[in-house]
C-alpha cells in the first residue's frame, strides 16, 4: 500500500504553511509551522501539553485565526473561505460531546446531515457504529448516559460518515479502552487506504509509530523533528521524543525536516 501512495504525486489535502499563532495574551502557540499531509497519509503530531497541537487543528477549522501563515484544506485557505474548506474535512475532538437529550442515532443523523450527507439510511449509521465498535444496545440510548469512550466512538462514526477527503483528529483515542484503541488504529489504517489524508494529534507514541506515515514532534509551537515511517524503523521513538522535548538536537535535524518535501 505504501508503494501505491508513493507513485502518485498529488497536492497535499492538508497543509500548514508558515503557520504562526500568538494569542492575545502574548503566548506564542505556533511558530512558523509547516506540515503537509498527502492523500492516503497519516500524519501524527506529537508534543507535550501546550505544544500547540490543538491550536493547529483549531486554525484548520477556522476556530481561531492565524497570526501569520495559512492553513489549507484541499487547497482552500480555511481562514479566507472557511465554509468551502470545511466541506473537505471531518473532525474528531479529544472529548467528543453530543446532545445529551438525543440518542446516538439522532445525534449521528444530525451531525452527518450537517456535514452535507443526507442520503444515508439507518443501516448505514448502524454499519458505521459497528465499525467503531459501539455496542448495538447503545444505538438508541440517550447520550446522557454514555461514557467518554462511547461518545468518542460516536464522534469517530460521524467523521467516517461525513466521508470527507481530509480528517483532523485531536487525540481521538483519549478515553478509548485498549480494545477500542486497537480497533481505532485499524480503522484509520483503512481510511488511509481509502485515500484520506489524516492529521492526528496524539500522546500515544507507540501507536503513532505503528500507523503513521509521518511523525512530527512539536515543542513550544515549533516543529522540532519530522520523520517518515521508513526513517523510524529501528528507532526508539520514545527516546527521540524525550530528547526533542528536552530541546536537544534541534540544529542537527534540518536535513531530516527537509526530507518531508521529497515525499
Amino acid at each position: 500500500m505504501e508503494t501505491a501512495n508513493e507513485t502518485i504525486k498529488q497536492a497535499p489535502l492538508l497543509e500548514a504553511r508558515n503557520l504562526t499563532k500568538v494569542y492575545e495574551d502574548g503566548v506564542k502557540a505556533l511558530d512558523n509551522l509547516n506540515i503537509k499531509v498527502m492523500p492516503g497519509e497519516i500524519y501524527a503530531m506529537l508534543g507535550g501539553n501546550g505544544a500547540g497541537k490543538t491550536t493547529t487543528i483549531n486554525i484548520f477549522l477556522d476556530f481561531i485565526q492565524p497570526t501569520n501563515g495559512n492553513a489549507f484544506i484541499n487547497g482552500i485557505d480555511s481562514n479566507s473561505d472557511p465554509l468551502e474548506a470545511k466541506k473537505n474535512v471531518a473532525f474528531v475532538s479529544e472529548n467528543v460531546q453530543l446532545y445529551p437529550n438525543f440518542t446516538a442515532m439522532q445525534n449521528i443523523d444530525f451531525f452527518v446531515r450537517l456535514g452535507g450527507k443526507s442520503n444515508y439510511k439507518r443501516s448505514d449509521y448502524e454499519n458505521a457504529l459497528n465499525r467503531v465498535g459501539l455496542q448495538s444496545e447503545a444505538f438508541d440510548k440517550k447520550l446522557r448516559d454514555f461514557s467518554k469512550g462511547m461518545r468518542q466512538k460516536c464522534g469517530i462514526a460521524i467523521a467516517i460518515l461525513k466521508n470527507a477527503p481530509a480528517i483532523l483528529l485531536d487525540e481521538p483515542t483519549s478515553g478509548l479502552d485498549p480494545k477500542a484503541g486497537k480497533e481505532f488504529t485499524k480503522l484509520i489504517g483503512e481510511l488511509r487506504d481509502e485515500g484520506k489524508a489524516i492529521l492526528m494529534s496524539t500522546h500515544d507514541i507507540f501507536r503513532a509509530k505503528e500507523i503513521s506515515d509521518h511523525v512530527g514532534i512539536l515543542n513550544n509551537g515549533e516543529l522540532v523533528a519530522q520523520r517518515t515511517n521508513a526513517e523510524l524503523k529501528g528507532v526508539n521513538l520514545e527516546q527521540l521524543y524525550v530528547e526533542y522535548m528536552a530541546g536537544y538536537m534541534e540544529e542537527t535535524d534540518q536535513n531530516l525536516v527537509l526530507t518531508n518535501d521529497l515525499n
Partner: protein, 488 residues
C-alpha cells in the same frame, strides 16, 4: 441547512425535561386563570344585572321624579378575563344625582378584601412574569451552553455559517416556545366561549392583538436571552445576568418609574387642594368685607355735614346704585372663587396627567411595562377606564337631571311638597304623591362608554413599535456578537 438546524433545535427543546416541566406549569396556570377569570366574569355580570334591576325597581317605586335615587353600574367587560387591568380596583357603581358629582365606588376588591389579598392572576400577568422567565430559561445557554458542551465546535467543524446557525437557533426556540403557548391560549379561548362569555367581533380583534403583543413580548425575551448567551462565555454567568435583567425589567423598573415620576412631578392631594381653595375663599371674603366697610365709610363721609333730611334724600337717590355696586362686588368675589377652584382642579389634573406621562415614559424603558400598558389599552381595562366611565356617567347625569326637572315641572311638583291655598277647599298640602308608580319608559338609559377597537389599538401602537425595536436591537446585538464569537 437551516431547516435541519431548526429541526434539531426544536427536537432538543421538545425532548428536554425542562420543556415538559414548563409546559405543565404553563398549562395549569393559563387554564386555571382563564377558568377563574370566566367565573369571575359571570359573577360580575350576574351582580351587574341584579344591581341594575334593583335600580330600576327603586326608581319605579319612587313617588316622584324629585326623590328618585338613581345609580349606574360599570358593565363587565369580557376582555377582563384575559387582561384584568384595573377592573378589580376601580369602583363599580356611582350615584346619579344633581347634588353630587359622579364618583365610582365599591371596587370588587374593596368589597371582597380576601381576594385582594391574593390577587387574581390573569393571562397578562402569566405572560409578563412567567413566560418571560421561561423564555430566559430556554435561551440563557443557547450559545454558550453549546460551547461548554462542545457541540458548537462539532457543529462548526462543518460548512455551517454563523448567520444561519443563529437564525435557526432563534427560530427553533421561537417555534418551540410560541407554538405551545398559542395552543394553550387557543384552548383557553375555547374554554371562554364554551363557558358562555359573549365575545364580540371587536373583542376578537382585541384578543388577536393581545396574542400578537404576547408573542412580541416573549420574542423579546428570547432575543435578550440569545444576546446575553452570545456575549458571555459561561452559561452560569449568562443565567445570573439574565435573572438580574429580568428582575430589573419585569419587577423593579415599572414600579420605580411610578415612584420616580412621583418625585419628579408633584401632584397635590385632595386635602391640599381643598385647603388651598378654602384659604383663597377666606382671603377673598375677608378682602371683600374690608372693602365693603371701607366703601360704606366713604359713603357716610360723603354725607357728612348734611342734615337728616338731606341725608335721607341723598340715601334714597343713591341706595339703588350702592346696592347694585355691592352686589356686583359680591358676585365678582363668588366668580373669582369658582374660577380659582376650577383652576386649582384643572392644574392638579394636568399635573396628574403629566405625572402619568412621565411614569409611563420611564416605565417603557422596560418592555414589560410596554406589554402591560398595551395589553390594558387593548382590553379597555387601562388607567383611563375610570375617567372614561366617569365622563360618560357625568354626561348621563346631566341628561338624567334635565329629564327629572322636565318631569317635575310637567307635573307641577317641585319635588318636596307644594301648598295650595284654595278658597273652596282651604289649605291643601300636596306631597306630589301620585299613587301610581313612576313611568320610567321615557327615562334616559345609561349605556357604558364604548371604546372603539381602532381607538384602543392606536393607543397601543407605540408599545407595539417599542417592542419591535427592542426585538431588533437584541437580535441584532446577538447577531453581531455571534459573528465574532469564539467557538472553542
Amino acid at each position: 441547512m437551516i431547516k435541519l438546524l431548526i429541526e434539531k433545535e426544536l427536537k432538543n427543546i421538545l425532548l428536554s425535561p425542562k420543556f415538559a416541566a414548563t409546559f405543565l406549569v404553563c398549562s395549569i396556570l393559563i387554564l386555571t386563570s382563564v377558568y377563574i377569570g370566566v367565573q369571575e366574569y359571570h359573577t360580575a355580570v350576574a351582580q351587574y344585572e341584579a344591581n341594575q334591576q334593583i335600580a330600576t325597581q327603586d326608581i319605579a317605586q319612587a313617588t316622584n321624579w324629585g326623590s328618585v335615587r338613581n345609580q349606574v353600574h360599570r358593565k363587565p367587560n369580557p376582555m377582563q378575563v384575559f387582561v384584568s387591568g384595573l377592573h378589580f380596583d376601580v369602583g363599580r357603581v356611582s350615584r346619579i344625582s344633581g347634588f353630587q358629582d359622579v364618583k365610582l365606588t365599591r371596587s370588587p376588591y374593596s368589597d371582597e378584601t380576601l381576594f385582594a389579598l391574593f390577587r387574581f392572576i390573569d393571562l397578562t400577568f402569566i405572560v409578563q412574569v412567567v413566560l418571560s422567565l421561561f423564555a430566559i430559561l430556554f435561551t440563557y445557554d443557547a450559545i454558550n451552553g453549546e460551547r461548554e458542551n462542545g457541540t458548537l465546535k462539532l457543529a462548526f467543524a462543518n460548512s455551517v455559517s454563523r448567520a444561519s446557525y443563529l437564525i435557526s437557533k432563534f427560530a427553533g426556540v421561537w417555534i418551540g416556545l410560541i407554538i405551545p403557548l398559542l395552543i394553550l391560549i387557543l384552548i383557553a379561548l375555547l374554554i371562554t366561549t364554551l363557558m358562555g362569555v359573549p365575545i364580540s367581533g371587536g373583542d376578537w380583534v382585541s384578543i388577536s392583538s393581545f396574542i400578537g403583543l404576547s408573542v412580541l413580548y416573549v420574542t423579546f425575551f428570547i432575543g435578550i436571552g440569545l444576546l446575553v448567551s452570545t456575549i458571555t462565555r459561561k452559561s452560569s454567568l449568562s443565567f445570573l445576568l439574565l435573572l438580574v435583567i429580568w428582575i430589573g425589567g419585569v419587577l423593579i423598573l415599572p414600579r420605580m418609574s411610578v415612584m420616580a415620576s412621583g418625585q419628579l412631578v408633584e401632584v397635590e392631594s385632595i386635602a391640599q387642594i381643598e385647603a388651598k381653595q378654602e384659604a383663597y375663599q377666606k382671603a377673598r371674603w375677608d378682602e371683600y368685607s374690608s372693602t365693603i366697610s371701607e366703601t360704606w365709610r366713604k359713603r357716610s363721609q360723603e354725607m357728612e355735614g348734611m342734615d337728616d333730611a338731606e341725608r335721607q334724600a341723598y340715601r334714597d337717590e343713591k341706595e339703588w346704585d350702592w346696592l347694585e355696586e355691592d352686589d356686583a362686588a359680591r358676585k365678582q368675589v363668588q366668580q373669582d372663587i369658582t374660577e380659582n377652584n376650577r383652576r386649582l382642579i384643572e392644574e392638579t389634573s394636568n399635573q396628574k396627567k403629566l405625572q402619568e406621562r412621565v411614569a409611563f415614559s420611564l416605565a417603557r424603558i422596560s418592555p414589560a411595562s410596554s406589554f402591560r400598558l398595551a395589553a390594558m389599552n387593548i382590553a379597555g381595562t387601562d388607567i383611563d377606564m375610570k375617567s372614561r366611565y366617569e365622563d360618560s356617567m357625568r354626561e348621563y347625569r346631566d341628561k338624567f337631571t334635565d329629564f327629572t326637572q322636565k318631569k317635575q315641572s310637567e307635573s307641577g311638583s317641585r319635588g318636596g311638597f307644594s301648598i295650595n291655598v284654595d278658597s273652596e277647599s282651604g289649605v291643601k298640602i300636596d306631597f306630589g304623591r301620585d299613587d301610581q308608580t313612576l313611568d320610567t319608559s321615557e327615562m334616559p338609559q345609561y349605556s357604558a362608554p364604548v371604546l372603539s377597537t381602532s381607538n384602543a389599538l392606536s393607543k397601543s401602537i407605540l408599545d407595539f413599535g417599542l417592542l419591535g425595536i427592542f426585538i431588533i436591537l437584541t437580535f441584532g446585538g446577538a447577531f453581531i456578537s455571534f459573528l465574532r464569537y469564539d467557538m472553542r
